[in-house]
């Protein structure tokens, strides 16, 4: 039984690539495997070439592989494009009704549409026929497959038809000569793990943290966050407003937060451009705010359905003037959940905007994670104004030692809550007084001192004093960590430093590791090495070299390992 098995499901948009890929992933998660799955699709509703990679391992996995063990081709283009990625023992399942392929003994053709039509009277379920065929090839028990399909489709008739479609594909392959394909994947011990993508995990984190309000405008790859929360409105007592633009989105969330509820918005880079104005409004009015920027390649429309880490320096500096902010970049789906919880707590505790910086790869890839331990979710609403000795005494922007002024919520007491986008005095009324301006700037910036103590140190792996130190941030974690393991197994003297809490910058631990590193390699999905620049600015240390990828595709373990070997030859 192989320890690392990769499927690619490919076809046109509209052929059901996504649901086939998801079901395949779900089957193996249920079977006790760890699965990582990512989606590669074009910015179109029909046609084109889309594929869904499903990587199945016995141990933890959070990166894709570049080799393919089984190709599930819903069209010929999938075979043409991915044939070269097949491993030596790799096989393919394809639709032989319209295909010229079939010469290779490990290419298993079957009439997908005919089987779908004969068995369930609907060629729409050709994708499910292919699912059954692929799983038959790896000897996966059909009952386990049927169970997952039945649960996936809430409609009983649709579920039954899909089970029948899968069975047709399954039986067809079982009736054929097995050929030269010896690999099988049997279920392991039953496990109750979640199969969840970064956006879903982040949205769940927001719900757990008590987010009651979201305003947003659809933009790939952030849209599924707003859709997920909108679907939970009734059950969870929250409101999601699909607004007219990102300017309204950020300002509406600020208004809701000012009124006392936890509020968020989510977008991608060019939507974030429109939100920048609101970022500073949250800054000067000291209104808690959580903004998700799920990055995609820019500038402008860039590559709408692809991935990049090109916004780091942008979100660190966005808006004019100076005010405190926090920037967090979760590494995995599990981390996205906990990052959301932390972001809401920090926003309230320090009364500032917190940016969660994800990207298409994290947002839309599926990770296998243990169910989140909800007992570990703490809620910190920060310093609240104690009512109500003298109602007229409340100062929203009182000058305090910590820089944090107690919050009151409008309408919940007789205290009047006054704030202003202009510079203001302690009461929140606008002022041009030079001393008050200085005091209010200092007060706001003082919050960073305490916030600095809350930031988590970067993740560190491998021995101290290694020859090579790999440095990364955010969603490239899985790929870098796997490359680190590969190189370590090859005998390299190597360690790894990965940042999730990016701002305030964890200067001491980064300096501590990098000042002792012999050769540090910064690995990023951007063209200019934005983390490397940040490290230089904050620590005075210059990483030795970098490995950058900015073609819109996720960076892979093999890509990194090859570049490190070359770099260090």
């Amino acid at each position: 039984m192989p320890d690392d098995f990769n499927f690619i499901v490919g076809g046109e948009a509209g052929q059901g690539v996504q649901s086939l890929g998801f079901l395949l992933a779900k089957v193996f998660v249920r079977g006790g495997y760890h699965v990582f799955a990512d989606q590669d699709y074009e910015s179109r509703v029909r046609g084109g070439h889309n594929f869904f990679r499903v990587r199945v391992k016995k141990g933890e996995v959070s990166a894709i592989s570049e080799t393919v063990d089984m190709l599930i081709a819903l069209n010929d283009e999938t075979i043409e494009r991915h044939r070269g990625e097949l491993s030596a023992k790799g096989a393919a399942v394809f639709n032989n009704e319209k295909s010229t392929f079939g010469g290779d003994k490990r290419f298993f053709g079957l009439p997908l549409e005919k089987l779908a039509k004969e068995n369930v009277g609907n060629i729409v379920m050709s994708n499910t026929v292919a699912l059954g065929a692929a799983l038959a090839l790896v000897d996966y028990p059909f009952d386990n497959i049927a169970k997952v399909i039945t649960e996936f489709f809430s409609n009983g008739k649709v579920a039954l038809d899909n089970v029948a479609a899968a069975k047709a594909g399954y039986d067809y392959i079982r009736s054929q000569p097995r050929g030269d394909f010896p690999q099988s994947l049997a279920p392991l011990a039953e496990a109750k793990r979640m199969l969840i993508n970064g956006n879903e995990a982040l949205a769940l984190g927001a719900l757990a943290a008590g987010c009651k309000f979201m305003s947003a405008y659809p933009m790939t790859p952030a849209t599924s966050i707003m859709q997920y929360l909108a679907a939970q409105e009734k059950k969870f007592g929250l409101v999601m407003v699909h607004v007219e633009d990102e300017i309204a989105a950020v300002n509406m969330a600020i208004g809701a937060s000012y009124a006392g509820v936890r509020a968020m918005t989510a977008t991608s880079g060019s939507g974030f451009c429109l939100m920048v104005e609101g970022l500073g409004l949250a800054g000067i009015t000291e209104t808690p705010l959580v903004i998700v920027n799920a990055q995609r390649p820019g500038p402008a429309c860039g590559l709408p359905t692809r991935t990049e880490q090109g916004d780091l320096q942008f979100v660190l500096h966005a808006h004019h003037g100076e005010f405190p902010r926090a920037v967090l970049a979760p590494a995995t789906a599990a981390s996205a959940f906990w990052t959301a919880v932390k972001a809401f707590n920090w926003a309230d505790k320090y009364q500032l905007p917190v940016v969660i910086l994800t990207d298409h790869h994290l947002a839309s890839s599926y990770y296998t994670v243990e169910p989140f331990d909800l007992a570990g979710v703490t809620i910190d609403r920060g310093l609240l104004y104690a009512e109500e000795e003298s109602a007229g005494a409340y100062q929203r922007h009182a000058l305090t030692k910590s820089g944090v002024s107690p919050r009151a919520f409008p309408g919940l007491s007789k205290s009047l809550v006054v704030t202003d986008s202009d510079e203001h005095d302690e009461w929140g009324h606008l002022t041009e007084d030079a001393n008050m301006r200085t005091e209010q700037v200092r007060k706001r910036m003082r919050k960073l001192v305490s916030l600095h103590q809350d930031i988590a140190p970067p993740l560190r792996y491998g021995p101290e004093g290694a020859e090579i130190t790999l440095v990364g941030w955010g969603s490239t974690y899985g790929a870098i960590h796997e490359a680190f393991s590969i190189l370590q197994k090859e005998g390299a003297s190597i360690n790894m430093l990965h940042l999730e809490d990016l701002w305030p910058f964890p200067t001491e631990p980064v300096f501590d590791t990098l000042s002792r590193a012999k050769k540090s390699i910064c690995i990023e999905s951007n063209a200019t090495g934005q983390l490397a620049r940040l490290i230089r600015t904050e620590t005075g240390l210059k990483p030795s070299c970098d490995i950058l990828r900015y073609d819109g595709r996720p960076i892979t373990p093999a890509y990194i390992a090859a570049a490190v070997r070359k770099e260090c030859r």
Binding site: L204, A248, P371
Partner: protein
């Protein structure tokens, strides 16, 4: 019993004789007469001379960015529907910079009141043409004359606002009545208030408006709930300018959906992370 004195705020920094003074007076009077206490009110304003108003009265105040009064006002209303939310700003703020929010706030029929001090000119930046300047208005930024003006009343009706009125700062008693009616209305209510700018608009003066303005209630026979008639009436401008409620309708508001939460304000609801457990099961 709430008194006008309860609404005494900071001293205004407006020009002597500014049309804003009587709008402030009318607002304070309306709030006192509605027996609303300052802590029950949230005023959200943008940027401009009009947008300074909340500092000169009393209440909860969110003085937002230029053009961005409506969005935070709506967010706050949804968070706590117990608040009486009044958005305040000028014509440049609301119809220029904030134009998109104006259209869509009207469309979604949010249950807030929007007071626009319309002086047909930019005051704070000193005398440039605004979206409502009369066609051909010559200013430093429009040396060849400004383009055709936007009609805020017509736009509001077309976009779906359910209370659309025009007031005049030269008639604060009438304006007080309009503000009270607008606050009592369920849904998006706009009062476009003719507000002479004594420093930069020497055409549309108190005297100019007084010669032309008349009250719809005194004209007789006007039906406020007739949308087509309202769209025609909203276009009346020049020799005669109608004051009063141009259009009023009862329609579901965006905030009606808050009733699904048992009517309890979002801000009063507790946070329970454990409730997410049932969702986790959907992913296993």
């Amino acid at each position: 019993m709430v008194e006008i004195a309860d609404y005494a705020g900071l001293e205004p920094a407006w020009c002597p004789g500014c049309g804003n003074f009587s709008i402030l007076k009318a607002l304070n009077k309306a709030l006192a007469e509605l027996d609303l206490e300052p802590h029950q009110i949230l005023m959200v304003s943008g940027i401009g001379q009009a947008a300074k108003l909340p500092h000169y009265t009393r209440g909860n105040v969110f003085n937002s960015l230029h053009g961005r009064a409506l969005s935070p006002a709506i967010g706050a209303k949804i968070a706590n529907q117990e608040l009486t939310v009044i958005a305040i700003g000028g014509d440049g703020d609301g119809y220029g910079e904030g134009g998109n929010h104006f259209m869509h706030s009207a469309r979604r029929n949010h249950d807030i009141t929007y007071l626009v001090h319309n002086n047909q000119v930019y005051g704070l930046t000193k005398g440039q043409a605004s979206p409502t300047s009369d066609a051909g208005t010559i200013t430093k930024t429009t040396p060849e004359g400004s383009a055709n003006p936007l009609n805020p009343l017509l736009l509001a009706i077309v976009c779906g606002a359910t209370f659309v009125a025009r007031g005049f700062s030269g008639d604060p008693d009438h304006l007080t009545g309009l503000i009270k009616a607008a606050i009592n209305h369920r849904g998006f209510s706009l009062i476009d208030i003719l507000q002479p700018c004594v420093s930069f608009n020497h055409k549309n003066t108190f005297a100019w408006y007084r010669e032309r303005a008349y009250k719809l209630t005194e004209a007789g026979g006007y039906q406020q709930d007739d949308k087509n008639a309202a769209m025609i009436k909203a276009q009346e401008w020049g020799e005669k300018i109608p004051l009063g409620i141009i259009y009023r309708a009862e329609q579901p508001t965006f905030e009606d959906r808050l009733l699904v939460h048992g009517g309890q304000a979002l801000v009063r609801q507790s946070i329970d992370p454990g409730r997410v457990r049932e969702l986790l099961n959907e992913f296993t």
